[in-house]
Amino acid sequence: MKRLLRYLKDYKLESVLGPLFKMLEASFELFVPLVMAQIIDIGIRNRDMSYIMKMGGVLLLLAAVGLTCSLTAQYFAAKAAVGFSTALRNDLFRHINSLSYSEQDAIGTATLITRMTSDVNQVQSGVNLTLRLLLRSPFIVFGAMIMAFTVNARAAMVFAVAIPALSLVVFGIMTVSMPLYKKVQRQLDTVTRATRENLTGVRVVRAFNRQESEMARFEESNGQLVRFQVFVGKISALMNPVTYVIINLAIAAVIWISGKQVDAGIITQGETVALVNYMSQILVELIKLANLIVSISKALACANRISLVFEQETSIKDPSKEDGGQAAASLKDVPKVQFNHVNFAYKNAKADSLSGIDLKVEKGQTIGIIGGTGSGKSTLVNLIPRFYDVREGAVLVDGKDVRQYGLSELRDKIGVVPQKAVLFKGTLRDNMKWGRPDASDEEIYHALDMAQAREFVDEKGKGLELSIEQNGRNLSGGQRQRLTIARALVRNPEILIMDDSASALDFATDAALRKAIQEGTKDMTVFIVSQRATTIRNADQILVLDDGALAGLGTHRELLENCQVYREICLSQLSREEVQ
């Protein structure tokens, strides 16, 4: 929370003036019962019509001044809260953009999106409410008590007893019920899960004819939810009646004591009425305060979650930003990409995901990477653009450790086609320019040709103006994949990484694509990750991974001879003759 407070720094004045004007308003409100007492004690007693009119005028004046103060306060509070959240959002977005893959994996993108949107909104309204109301309610409660003391100390003693009793009840019920509400929420999550599970597994449920037991289970978990809800409801339903009892008993006590004081001539009848009014004011404010605390504690929880994101520092430091960057003198006559004894472990993982990887790749070579899921294929290629940092060893590009490059300098050399074919809302041209902002239409068409995407783009008849919906919803999986390949090719990168990115293509298109890339990009070093033996069998070098370790390295033929894992993979996909 503390680190979020600095976003209020630019709104210091507003943050002080907001509560201040709110308190001014509250003080005017506190005068009202006293004025009324004057009307009764002086106006009515002396039958002074003009005095009454005058006091009526004072009441209106108090109301008008109160309104002005209140509006001023609301304005300042709104300005501070909105300014706060705007600055917070900008910074949070920038921070999220700076997080490396490791941190993104650890937090999860869905979570990041929630932090960015609904959590920030919650905090904004929390700040707004706090500035407006947090001081006001206690101020009125204590103000009313002090005013009561100025009227009559004996009667005011009732306040001194009633206020702590009320606070105890209000906050006691809150402390008991709030954890219970969390329990209700958790049970609701269980009910949601039951529903989701039933829907996603509908075919299995029906295939095994388990509808009835599903219904029984749902009814049971929903019944549990209702029991929780009724139980919490019973407790929070206590709030109103109990506070009502306390306040009215206090009023009765005030009247009794005031009666004695009036009898003794110490206070007047009008002042008795004022005391009763003060008591009523307190109740209203305490209830408001309780609601306010609920909202603020929600906002605080959101603020804490946002802070946690800020605390997550990126693990990949960009040297070009740290010390002005070094000249990128690429060495000649060195392998294009080189892995030196690389060990890598994901954050918080117990075991290494890659261990002892050594690899030399010459300029213009095509490298196939194959292995089962979780064998570390994607992990390996993700180390080249430095999406993750190695734990031990080093990855070298053009003979230089990737950690010595400026991030953008390194990544500009590389075109990545990710596993998930992601496109963005906008035109086809916009999407292709992600690869290179200054790419000409001609260059884009060339890339589309190579990626086997030209045909369907032409078929749609919109050319590069073809509009693409969010996540490329208006395209098929195979079309999306081809466009993401084209996007990487637009860069004309020195190194192209295709991370299992042809999986949705049929064999023929896959083959044509590989042929085009091989012919069209003589100097490009290409990494192809695949599950299909056919996709990589013609690569210059094939890297076989098994459980993070190098199980084999060589050409198709060499590996068939001497790599057990590779043979198994091939035989599970192809027949014996085809393997040969």
């Binding site: 009441l59 209140s70 009910v191 009646p241 009892v245 009247i255 009425v273 009763v276 999986g477 599970s572």
Partner: protein, 584 residues
């Protein structure tokens, strides 16, 4: 359109009342309690006023009278507190039970919805109807119960009590009050546009965040961070302007209505004082009016809040009823019989099917499967291989033609018995949150432990299960989150292995399984298929080549049919597909 919506609302109201009707005695009791609560709440200020009148000045205090009134106050307060609590409790009960009835009904109805509905509607949407909408509805209903009735009663009661004390001053209150309502509605109207702009811009911002943060890895791979930041800040800046205005204008409502309230208070004070001077009113009665004037406008504000809440609740309820009203699948034929033990013969006779009438999909499909045969279904992804499964399992009904199992049209069999005769392993492995034991026994809940272990062994799953922390009692989280894809697949196989029906539908995994597990799965599949009619959505050439019949599908159509050799000779699509793998 507006009319249709009104109609929908009205029928929704009627149906909600029907659901509430089940608890009508509780409702009546709650209403009675509300009446008592309101009356007692309103009576308290009168007692207080009377007591004030007994405290006139030095030596003019009637202590015996005061004591008896104070006793009455205590009594009234005690009654109010008790009835209020009881009323709230009963309202909770009614609301949550009504909501439970509706939710259970919705869930149970889900079980009878045809798959065509479930496949064509996002599950997120259905879940939000069953969970979020019903929840929202319950909140609205509860608020309606607790505040609408008491609010109206309070207003009426206050007017009544005030009239009984002094009609003239009541008039003052009644005249000034509408002003407060007018101010509130005026502001609400003005702020509506601002809120709309705010929520539109917020939506814009959210979708940008969704896109960029959701695909952060791509953003970073292409160095798009700065552009994204610039776009974000531009929208954020606009949002700031709209938000400021929306928040400020909406926050005027409270002070403004409070100002009107103060005006009522001042008017009552002055008018009351004049009346007191002329002897129409005592000071105690004046204090009654003041306290009424203070709380009189409150129910108005509350009621307007309740009305919005109720409208919202109604809209939610309508969405839930929409789900409940979706037609169930076609009921079983009256002459439907139970399929005892299928012999394994399946024949498809001139079958036609399509999901959308305009786009024909399967036309004139004929297939005669003898007991124990293997049918491989092949084709590029998205070619509609699952459609065949849908028809065989009768998740969908054929449009024309017929499917026969053991010589009987499956529409003349009960769904339950038909499905019991099939064992199905899909590529999207679905496991229930629960123990591994429960999951394996999903198709046969009364299976003995030995049977379960035997099935697991045959599915090559026993060894990894034993290595899990609690063995067969290990709880797997939703969607088997703590298991690998391959392990999930093995569990699904074990699940079928336990029942082992005469016919199988298998969906080979395309990828994503490590080699060793893959080999185990192959073995398990082979074991299952021994002597059973099997339909396999195949990706592996070895599986395909061993099949008795290969169905080649493309764009939803079955374009070729035959054995591997026959199809290769044909030099058609299959041959092409087969050869293309070795093109480069």
């Amino acid at each position: 359109m507006v009319n249709a919506r009104m109609k929908k609302h009205r029928s929704a109201v009627k149906r909600i009342l029907d659901y509430i009707g089940a608890y009508k005695w509780l409702v009546l009791f709650s209403l009675a309690l509300a009446a008592v609560t309101v009356a007692a709440t309103l009576y308290a200020p009168i007692l207080i006023g009377r007591s004030v009148d007994l405290i006139l000045g030095p030596g003019q205090v009637d202590f015996t009278g005061l004591l008896s009134i104070l006793k009455q106050i205590v009594m009234v307060v005690a009654i109010t507190a008790l009835t209020q609590w009881l009323m709230n409790h009963i309202n909770n009960q009614i609301t949550y039970r009504v909501v439970q009835d509706i939710r259970v009904k919705a869930f149970n109805h889900m079980q009878t919805l045809p798959l065509s509905y479930l496949d064509s509607h996002q599950s997120g949407d259905i879940i939000s109807r069953v969970i979020a909408d019903i929840d929202q509805f319950s909140e609205g209903l509860l608020m309606g119960f607790t505040q609408l009735f008491t609010g109206v009663l309070t207003i009426l009661g206050t007017l009544g009590f005030m009239l009984s004390v002094n009609p003239l001053i009541t008039l003052v209150v009644v005249v000034v009050t509408p002003l407060s309502l007018w101010v509130a509605s005026y502001i609400a109207k003005k702020t509506f546009t601002m809120f709309k702009l705010q929520s539109e811009t917020r939506g814009e911002l959210t979708s940008l965040v969704d896109e960029m943060v959701g695909n952060e890895k791509v953003v970073q791979a292409f160095g798009y961070e700065d552009d994204a930041q610039a776009r974000f800040e531009e929208i954020n800046q606009r949002l700031r302007g709209y938000s400021l205005r929306a928040i400020f204008f909406s926050s005027i409502t409270n002070p403004a209505t409070r100002f009107v309230n103060s005006m009522v208070y001042a008017s009552v004070g002055v008018a009351g004082a004049f009346a007191a001077i002329h002897g129409f009113l005592t000071v105690g009665q004046l204090s009654i009016f003041l306290s009424y004037a203070n709380q009189y406008t409150k129910p108005f504000n509350e009621i307007s809040g309740v009305v919005t809440e109720l409208q919202n609740a109604l809209a939610c309820a309508a969405r839930v009823f929409e789900l409940i009203d979706e037609p169930s699948f076609i009921p079983e034929n009256s002459d439907a019989v139970d399929l005892k033990e299928a012999d394994g013969s399946v024949s498809l006779d001139h079958v036609a099917f399509s999901y959308v009438p305009e786009i024909p999909l399967i036309e004139n499909l004929n297939l005669d499967v003898k007991p124990g045969q293997r049918i491989a279904i092949v084709g590029p992804t998205g070619c509609g291989k699952t459609t065949i499964i849908n028809l065989l399992m009768r998740f969908y009904d054929v449009k024309s033609g017929s499917i026969q199992v053991s010589g009987t049209d499956i529409r003349h069999l009960t769904r339950k018995s038909l499905r019991t005769n099939y064992g199905m392993v899909l590529q999207e492995t679905w496991l229930k949150s629960g123990t591994i034991r429960e999951n394996i026994a999903y198709g046969k809940p009364d299976a003995a432990d030995e049977e379960i272990i035997k099935a697991a062994k045959e599915a090559h799953a026993d060894s990894f299960i034993r290595r899990m922390p609690q063995g067969y009692d290990t709880v797997i989280s939703e969607d088997g989150g703590n298991l690998s894809q391959g392990q999930k697949q093995l569990l699904c196989i074990a699940r079928v292995m336990l029942c082992l029906p005469p016919m199988l539908i298998l969906d080979e995994a395309t990828s994503s399984i490590d080699t060793r597990t893959e080999i185990r799965i192959q073995k398990a599949f082979a074991k299952m298929m021994e002597g059973r009619t099997s339909f396999i959505v195949a990706h592996r050439l070895s599986t395909i080549k061993e099949a008795d019949v290969i169905l080649v599908m493309k764009d939803g159509h079955i374009i070729e049919q035959g054995t591997h050799e026959v199809l290769l000779e044909k030099q058609g699509f299959y041959a092409n597909l087969y050869n293309s793998q070795f093109a480069v």
